[in-house]
């Protein structure tokens, strides 16, 4: 099979994407497929047309590749592709939209408020900040509305720290959310097809908060897979993750990040196209389930929707 591997692009997560894609390309060759690597730029459509692949493996993270943009082009060109569809990607990338969907579907997610820049610049939203702080409590979390990894995610431990945290978050997007901080264990559930893979727990190395850099570096964060949870907790986490996956309309594969606090599991976000690097969580979870990286790639390909009429 001829597989176009879409990677890179202009996203801030370009570097991670290139590492994910390199592994995928390699696995494809081992599996006997023909891999055509395409760094997504102005030539994307032309290159897809020229190579006319049987299927596209989307190994892009962040804007352009994980938000439905590339998927939309693939749909127009009639090329089947891996991972969630246009709408699901769009919803997952926009944390605010995702949380609204989750809440609507009864999937627990921490309380939040969302603002766009106009609200502050033109509508005096700053006046609402004290109220909002009271409602969410401190510390609270400030996140860019869209964007992956931990880029721009700040932690405000007092009202005085909120404005600078907002300035940082607005560096990534024109919409931000302020979210209630939930203390608990950091868990990730990857879903392959409709099957949950073993739960991964991220345990920050002493003192280190689990941050963007730690995420991609060996030795900075320890991962336990399967996470040491009692059966009831594991069941609750898995059920919640699957509910989130379904509510957002994901398909193929995705990764649900949750926090397990005193009030049970809550969904923080869903990564439509999670990382596939050496240290990424999805491959680790697959491995714990006895699925090798090659098998994982093959399964993801099989899950790519085929055109209705051959």
């Amino acid at each position: 099979m001829k597989v176009a591997v879409l990677k890179g692009g202009r996203s801030l997560e370009r570097g991670v994407s290139l590492r994910s894609a390199a592994r995928v390309e390699d696995a494809l060759e081992r599996l006997g497929h023909e891999a055509v690597a395409i760094d997504a730029d102005g030539d994307l459509v032309r290159r897809l047309r020229d190579s006319s692949p049987d299927v596209a493996f989307v190994a892009m993270h962040g804007r352009g590749g994980e938000d439905g943009t590339a998927q939309e082009l693939l749909e127009i060109l009639g090329v089947p592709f891996t991972g969630p569809g246009v709408a699901a990607c769009g919803r997952c990338m926009d944390k605010v939209a995702a949380k609204q969907v989750l809440r609507g579907a009864g999937v627990p997610t921490p309380d939040w408020f969302a603002f766009n820049e106009t609200a502050f610049r033109e509508l005096g939203a700053a006046d609402a900040l004290p109220t909002l702080g009271e409602r969410l409590g401190f510390p609270l979390v400030v996140k860019p509305g869209r964007g992956g990894s931990a880029l721009g995610v700040k932690f405000a431990s007092s009202p005085a720290e909120v404005p600078a945290a907002l300035v940082s978050a607005f560096s990534y997007d024109d919409r931000v959310l302020l979210e209630r901080f939930v203390e608990g264990r950091e868990l990730a559930v990857s879903v392959l097809g409709s099957e949950p893979l073993p739960i991964v727990e991220a345990i920050p190395a002493d003192g280190d908060r689990y941050d963007f850099e730690a995420r991609y570096e060996i030795g900075r964060t320890e991962f336990a897979c399967p996470a040491r949870l009692d059966d009831a907790a594991a069941e609750a986490v898995t059920t919640t993750a699957l509910a989130a996956f379904e509510a957002l309309g994901c398909s193929g594969f995705s990764r649900v990040d949750l926090i397990l606090g005193a009030e049970g599991p809550q969904v923080l976000e869903v990564n439509a196209i999670p990382g596939l690097t050496d240290t990424s969580l999805l491959p680790q979870a697959a491995e714990a389930a006895g699925i090798s990286f090659e098998e994982l790639v093959e399964r993801i390909l099989e899950l790519a929707p085929r055109p209705a009429a051959a």
Partner: protein, 486 residues
């Protein structure tokens, strides 16, 4: 080109990672990839105007000269140029080094000199020779971003001394030394880039140079003087290197051909007193036996031609023009709240923004406009510092690009300043201006009106323990050295 035969390694599995991780030396735990590595990957895209590099301009080096010299090496010295050489380097290379050092008034004993694989290796060898885990190494704040990983890889405890427009604050150094004395600790060395410092662009004043050398003598303290840019002075009077003031007893000197000829040839050097040099030579032997003989031949040929000073003069002309353009653009496009240094030489300007701006996040915004710089945190061992500063390089790109690059960064900064003002108009007003009573501070319990408002704590999808962000520590990180306004 035919693809050479190769195999692809099987995928690393979790247990492989664990197996290797179990074998890693303890020091690898502190060997971190340089900060913001992934963001920096994007700066390499061709459409990005990168003010992030530290590159000298090699485009004006005459190709004809290069070709003629390499041809001469091939014709006259092929066997030697392709052979191993002495660990200390060729005598002829040392002669070139003496010429360069002589140009700044230094007169070292040739036996005290070792040729190294770039100045970077000299920093590594000096650290390897002197630093045990837990030893204190003192350097400037901010310091050369490439030195931090070296010190960390030898598990040094890095103590940084703030700079102002006259370089490292020696009074602060004395206070730190006294504090260490009280703990019964002695720093292994003080690392400094005294002239046109990377990244701050500042130069240690003559008075402070004298005082530092005096301190070194009194306390028998080693000073490592890293001087890649000393000859690249555009304005002001030359200052004597620490090595010259000290005579080479307590100052270990590090030099390089990278900024006056080529970084690609990887030729630097160290000058140290004989007992130290003996260990450095052994360390060099263990590291790589000898420095490239081929490029040492190139330097020899290049210096034999006798035009090296003219080439430096050309570079100075180019860099001077570019610095002026950058300073002009900063005045035009950076908001009134920003400050920056105005170096008299070298390659870098250090700009400092209001403390509520995190330059790591600003870089993400700037990259959307296809422009890049180095976030200030790279210049600190404690990554919570330097968060509102940035290093801007003016040697590696042309004047038009500098102008446009600064315009774009200035626009991004301006938007952040405006947003912050909108945010703080009625909220937490006092917090960003220590000393000013914040109205909200009285109304809302829990606001510490004197605390810096920038929250450096980073955290991901879910936080760790409910603690506040890391403390800013010393407070006034690098203070704006010189305020330039339009």
């Amino acid at each position: 080109m035919v693809e050479p035969p190769h195999r692809r390694r099987a995928h690393t599995r979790t247990r492989d990672l664990e197996r290797y991780a179990g074998l890693f030396a303890e020091r690898t735990g502190v060997m971190r990839s340089s900060a913001m590595r992934d963001l920096m990957a994007i700066t390499a895209r061709p459409e990005v105007i990168s003010l992030a590099g530290g590159l000298p301009d090699t485009s004006t080096f005459p190709a004809g000269t290069f070709a003629a010299q390499m041809t001469r090496i091939a014709q006259e010295s092929t066997a030697e140029a392709l052979q191993y050489g002495p660990t200390e380097g060729f005598e002829e290379t040392v002669d070139c080094i003496l010429e360069v050092m002589g140009a700044e008034g230094m007169l070292p004993d040739p036996d005290d000199v070792i040729v190294t694989t770039g100045g970077q290796q000299a920093i590594d060898l000096v650290s390897k020779t002197l630093v045990d885990p837990g030893d204190v190494v003192i350097c400037e704040a901010p310091t050369y971003p490439g030195a931090v990983p070296v010190f960390c890889s030898y598990q040094a405890e890095v103590v940084q001394i703030d700079c102002d427009e006259d370089g490292m604050r020696i009074e602060e150094l004395e206070a730190v030394l006294a504090g260490l004395d009280a703990e019964g600790r002695r720093p292994k060395f003080v690392y400094t880039v005294p002239s046109f410092q990377n990244p701050a662009g500042v130069t240690l004043s003559l008075e402070r140079r004298r005082r530092l050398v005096e301190l070194a003598r009194q306390r028998e303290l080693l000073v490592v003087e890293d001087n890649p840019y000393g000859l690249l002075r555009f304005s002001g009077d030359p200052l004597p290197p620490l090595y010259q003031l000290d005579g080479g007893d307590f100052v270990i000197y590090i030099g390089t051909f990278s900024k006056i000829l080529s970084p690609g040839i990887r030729l630097g050097w160290a000058v140290a007193p004989p007992p130290v040099m003996e260990k450095i030579v052994l360390g060099k032997q263990a590291a790589d036996l000898c420095t490239s003989t081929l490029t040492q031949h190139f330097v020899r040929e290049y210096f034999a031609e006798g035009r090296w000073r003219e080439y430096i003069a050309d570079l100075i002309g180019i860099y001077h023009g570019r610095r002026d353009v950058m300073v002009g653009a900063l005045r035009e496009h950076f908001p009134a709240e920003a400050t920056w240094t105005e170096p008299e030489g070298g390659l870098f300007i250090w700009a400092t923004l209001p403390e509520y701006i995190d330059t790591g996040d600003l870089l993400a915004k700037a990259l959307r406009e296809d422009v890049a710089f180095v976030p200030g945190q790279a210049a600190y061992a404690d990554e919570s510092r330097g968060r509102n500063s940035m290093r801007l390089n003016f040697s590696g790109v042309g004047e038009d690009e500098i102008r446009e690059g600064i315009r774009r960064i200035g626009a991004a900064v301006g938007e952040q300043v405006e947003l912050y003002q909108a945010l703080t108009g009625e909220y937490a007003q006092g917090s960003s201006h220590p000393g000013m009573p914040g109205r909200e501070a009285e109304d809302m319990p829990g606001i510490d009106a004197t605390k810096p408002s920038a929250g450096p704590g980073r955290y991901l999808t879910s936080p760790g323990p409910a603690e506040g962000p890391a403390d800013h520590g010393e407070g006034g990180d690098v203070l704006p050295f010189r305020k330039e306004s339009a």
